[in-house]
């Protein structure tokens, strides 16, 4: 069964600005990947326990203990823009 995909929508959701050419190229690659997944999905898996993670383990927790945070100046120096104690970002459209 041929897989159809709205590559322009996928790109938009991922905030990727792709050219027409790139849309065609990546669209074809993505279709290949999905078709491969379909082939795997068609395998007879009756009696195989579903797994959600490659490692056979559960409940890898940490205790509720505070560890030191980073130095603020060091952190903010990495930011594209800082404003005093804050990260500064362009305002989002539609935000009040």
């Amino acid at each position: 069964m041929p897989v159809e995909i709205d590559i322009a929508k996928v790109a938009k959701l991922a905030r990727l600005a792709l050219s027409e050419e790139e849309l065609v190229g990546y669209g074809a690659q993505l279709v290949d990947i999905l078709e491969h997944a379909e082939r795997v999905g068609a395998l007879p898996t009756d009696g195989v326990t579903p797994t959600s993670h490659p490692l056979p383990m559960t409940n890898a927790f940490r205790l509720d203990e505070v560890r030191p945070s980073l130095d603020r100046d060091e952190v903010l120096e990495q930011a594209p823009q800082r404003d005093g104690e804050f990260f500064r970002v362009p305002r989002i459209l539609g935000e009040s």
């Binding site: 959701l13 959600s52 509720d64 945070s69 404003d83 104690e85 500064r88």
Partner: protein, 483 residues
């Protein structure tokens, strides 16, 4: 004229009060300077890996268990993908199709009527950072930029989703208030609406009474108090009814509640509907809650508000007093301790929620700051029962006990508040008053009992109000009958 019925479902977010964040060791501290509680994990620096906080998982399981949810044996974390500046990773770690807790319920009391509201799911996620806008920090309003503080990013957040079982603004408020009481009683969150550690959104629709199918719903946001939840629901229900009766249709959208104008308004709609492209979080292994863990959670639950309310009512506590003690655990504990000594439940309930609460408010102190002990309440009750103290004087004595003057018996003597109810002690006074009023005594002997009040009053006056009026009255009666 169509009769309309509202259908409301509520999503409630609760921040857990753990020491550290959900997936990293940064402190949960809302008093800290901006951007000082951050690390590679909660800032999403490359290569950083999340590790779940076990205490937060314990917390959500307690919440789920308190709502009688099934604690799911195998559950998963998912990534919810969207772009927003307060979300450093461009996804929020949340749960999707297999949350930790499902199929619970909460029983609420709305004006004496019990209503069961289903709880679809309770799932674990992480909070976002906070946008601080220029104008809020006292800077000149800046239309082009937002400022971000990531101290809150990654704080454990629990989302509790109700079934669309709520039928009125009153039920909506009662549900949120009871949920707040339950979560508070578990000690896992301070559930403060004004500080944002509890937040709610309501999905509201209306349909003609008798219709099975739901109407189109609007999601109402930005309600910051129980009162605004009630007001916003009431407004939105009326808005939709007016729209439908006028021949219009309800649009499925997110609406913003405006406290000042008392209205909801549609938010600028996005070009396309939300598509979060959920997928399993590959950085986290699955969760497994086995029977042993489930039993441990169940055993750790405190007495929940509904059962305390029922227990207090069964003990004879009045409805209002019981409601007050459900809200205030310290009062309830004091009550339980006094009741276990054998004190009268109704009387102690009324003292605690009446005089004691008034004293605490007046003096701006907590019960624990006062000298009141359960033994005092028991002793006070015994004094009233034995007639050694009038119920009015008992309230005064309670005030002195709260202020630390001592035990009720000592305080009553010191302030000369004890009541004379011993017949022998009152007999002389009664004799004297009767001797002074032979004509009145004559009327009593003729069977006219009306002047008895006058005589009791005379005795009370002579004893400066300390005589037990009931004893005086019965003494006069027996003397009138030739005793």
């Amino acid at each position: 004229m169509t009769d309309w019925e509202a259908v409301i479902g509520i999503e409630i977010h609760v921040e857990l009060q753990t020491k550290s964040k959900m997936f990293c060791g940064c402190a949960v501290d809302f008093t800290a300077e901006p951007n000082t509680m951050v690390c590679p994990v909660c800032l999403a620096l490359p290569g950083a890996l999340p590790v779940p906080n076990q205490e937060a998982i314990e917390g959500i399981l307690r919440i789920g268990a308190a709502f009688d949810c099934e604690l799911v044996e195998h559950s998963l974390f998912h990534r919810k993908n969207y772009f927003y500046p307060d979300l450093p990773k461009n996804y929020q770690i949340s749960q999707y199709d297999i949350p930790l807790c499902i199929n619970g319920h909460l029983d609420i009391d709305v004006d004496g009527e019990e209503v069961t509201i289903g709880i679809t799911r309770v799932h674990m996620e992480e909070d976002t950072g906070k946008s601080v806008h220029g104008s809020e920090t006292g800077r000149i309003h800046d239309a082009d930029h937002s400022l971000l503080d990531f101290n809150r990013a990654g704080v454990p957040l629990v989302e509790i989703v109700s079934e669309p079982d709520i039928r009125s603004p009153e039920q909506a408020r009662a549900y949120a208030a009871e949920l707040q009481r339950v979560v508070r009683s578990l000690g896992v969150s301070d559930v403060r609406l004004e500080e944002g550690s509890m937040r709610f959104d309501a999905n509201i629709s209306v349909r003609p009474v008798g219709q099975e199918e739901f109407g189109t719903r609007a999601e109402v946001k930005n309600m910051n108090s129980l009162r605004s939840l009630h007001r916003a629901s009431a407004y939105e229900i009326q808005r939709q009814i007016a729209l439908l009766e006028g021949g219009g249709t309800v649009k499925q959208e997110t609406r913003h509640w405006d406290e000042g104008s008392g209205t909801t308004a549609g938010m600028r709609s996005k070009e396309e509907s939300e598509d979060y492209r959920y997928f399993q979080e590959p950085d986290l292994v699955p969760l497994r809650v086995d029977d042993e863990w489930r039993d441990r959670v169940a055993a750790s639950l405190p007495e929940l508000p509904a059962s305390r309310r029922r227990r207090l009512a069964d003990a004879g506590v009045e409805r209002q007093a019981a409601a007050t003690m459900v809200e205030a655990i310290d009062l309830a504990e004091m009550f339980d301790a006094a009741a276990s000594l054998g004190a009268d439940a109704k009387q102690v309930g009324n003292w605690l929620t009446g005089e004691v609460v008034a004293y605490l408010r007046r003096n701006e102190v907590e019960l624990g700051d006062t000298a009141l002990a359960p033994e005092h309440l028991h002793e006070l009750g015994q004094m009233v029962e034995a007639g050694g103290l009038s119920s009015t004087a008992a309230k005064d004595v309670l005030g002195y006990v709260l202020a630390g003057e001592g035990a009720p018996g000592d305080v009553a003597s010191a302030h000369d508040l004890t009541q004379i109810s011993d017949e022998g002690a009152l007999d002389a006074e009664v004799q004297k008053i009767l001797a002074e009023n032979p004509d009145v005594l004559e009327r009593l002997r003729d069977g006219d009992m009306k002047p008895i009040g006058f005589l009791v009053g005379q005795v009370m006056k002579a004893t400066r109000g300390k005589a037990d009026p009931k004893v005086v009255s019965s003494l006069i009666r027996s003397k009138a009958q030739g005793g």
